[in-house]
Symmetry: none
Subunit: 194 residues, 4 copies
DNA sequence: CTCTAATCGAGACGGTACGTCGCGTCTTACG
DNA sequence: CGTAAGACGCGACGTACCGTCTCGATTAGAG
């Protein structure tokens, strides 16, 4: 069985063959390169394989789906982002958290542009919601006017939407301006108690 | 040329052949019927044609794309929704506008579930934004902290997101609850002046 | 359903689309051309499609299998051969029948070389046996020392074998010599009564 | 180089490692077991390796081809058969030779069924012809009406054909009946002088 | 009774053909 | 003579098997 260790928690990764590491990296890089050129939906698995210099069938030895590959890329990036912002948010400084988030995205704007554009956004958002849902809920009252799971879905969707809009208008707005918008439009309203 | 009248504004539609009217209605009904069964992406043009009782090639005589057909359906529905809500919103009663919107969606929940689920949501949102962008901007100051086009994109996206979340949890929340959420989370924050 | 009329009796062919006639002819010609170059097993469906100038998927619109295409070619050829030989054989002149058979094969030796060489021979023999089995059994006693179906299988197999051997040694033996061998080795022994 | 001793004459085999002997036996047994279940062509090398309990690559350490493995099995069996029949045939008792042959085949009918059915028959016949061709030609006149190499090809092919037909109709005809058929149909005609 | 090299299992890899599907175009036959 | 049916070229899909290759981990047989 080829996919034995594909879907487990990466931290327990039981010594992957060096070739597999190389191949996966090649696949990831190829997808990112292609995302700079065209939308996710317009990229075929054949193209990714060709670009990565691996065989077509090899793709399926590592990922079940085009989206699965994207997820692999996205998961790490999203985890980094969340790890960066949440501590600040827990410190109750929502504006600083928003600022940190925007700065991070701006510093890797090429990547995030690719990830939030085209058909990739859906997968990204899904992974985003998944990771956000895993965050311990803090001291929010359970029966708030805003259901907890909607808070997550809404927060992620609105954030992603605003970032996508920002990234599509490169160099028009500063990280600071977007952070303010994000804070006033998304974070503060969704944290307001009854 | 076959597609003479496909892409004009429907209001100026220069006398549609009765057969074309019938065929288009059949295609629309077929798509809606299929949307009750499976996601938009999983529906093929061949299926729509077969279900509608028309020939496969006939589809292309009326619509360039599967999305174009969906748009045809969505446009009318969205226009109705906007026509319903905006007057109230201009009357500055945002809560009442939200309530009207939610009631309308609830009254046609099957249709809206189909439209906001699966791959259809993207097309829907696009048409929504298009129509929302056509609304005269009112007396909003141009250099607000919130750029006008982002206000539209954000308002539509957030609304669509919340509605989709609501519709996917049928019978858990009342129209009134969602209206409150919508008002507090989306409308009020985005209308707050500096 | 595409294959509606693929497997019926060709004589009742219910008006085939002119394009289908053209496409099938192209496929048949392509296979024959390729059989001149390499063995049947070494020819891929992709090759046949490419050579014939048709699309790959189009092949399957006409034939379920590579062998089915070969059968289409073989059936007509075999029918002609049987139609030629059997009357003479029923006239009890086995040597003349053998001679007619060998002459016919020699006159189309390129085609028959292709058909009896490589993996094609198996399909050929199958169709040959099928058609030979349909011939009314004549006045042979049912409980002969030689079972009727074995007579058919053996007669065809031995004949095919000898012809294949002959065709692979082009220009070494005359049609007349092979006819004598065929008569003495196959026909006469299998017609000998108890 | 791995294949050092694969293709030499086995009699000179320079001390095979005990492991190699075991592995080859396992491969042979696996193929035979699979031949009881499905046709030779439908058996993949991967299947043979899995069934034999050896690694996939190990197959290629011992045999270049699926057919090569089959040949290995067939060669011994055919040699035994020939060793049994030829002495009797040289004693000019063709009927007894035929009888011996049929009895031997019947006593190992499972094996021979497998060998003469499916795609294996071609390889079998090839090896059969090869070994039969090595037999010293006896006192047959060179310029007989029947060329010597055709006599071999024909004799083997016809015999194989009749045996295959027999084995596919298990328990319908006795070894004695088939021996008579074989004698009258194949051996006697091909030994008749001018 | 070691030690060293052959042999093994496992399976990743680049290829390539398979048969299916949906696309959008273009040809046909029929009413 | 226009229109509905559907054949067509195209190309991606995911699967299977090919034969090659690189790994350790046994495990035999020579010393």
């Amino acid at each position: 069985m080829d996919h034995k260790f594909l879907h487990g928690v990466p931290s327990t990764a039981p010594v992957l063959d060096a070739r597999m590491v190389r191949t996966r990296a090649a696949l990831r890089d190829a997808l990112l390169a292609l995302l700079d050129e065209k939308s996710f939906d317009d990229i075929s698995i054949r193209e990714i394989a060709a670009r990565s210099g691996t065989g077509y069938a090899t793709f399926f030895r590592h990922y079940e789906t085009k989206s699965a590959l994207l997820n692999d890329i996205a998961a790490a990036e999203i985890a980094a982002l969340i790890g960066l912002c949440m501590p600040i948010l827990w410190g109750a400084d929502s504006r600083a958290a928003a600022r940190t988030l925007c700065d991070y995205v701006e510093s890797r704007s090429m990547l995030w542009s690719a990830l939030l554009t085209g058909g990739a956004a859906g997968t990204m958002r899904g992974e985003f919601i998944r990771q956000a849902g895993l965050i311990p809920p803090g001291d929010v009252k359970p029966d708030s006017w805003l259901p907890a799971d909607l808070r997550v879905v809404y927060g992620v969707s609105a954030t992603v939407e605003i970032l996508a809009w920002w990234l599509s208008r490169r160099d028009t707005y500063s990280s600071e301006q977007i952070a303010e918008i994000l804070d006033r439009l998304v974070i503060t309203p969704s944290l307001t108690p009854d």
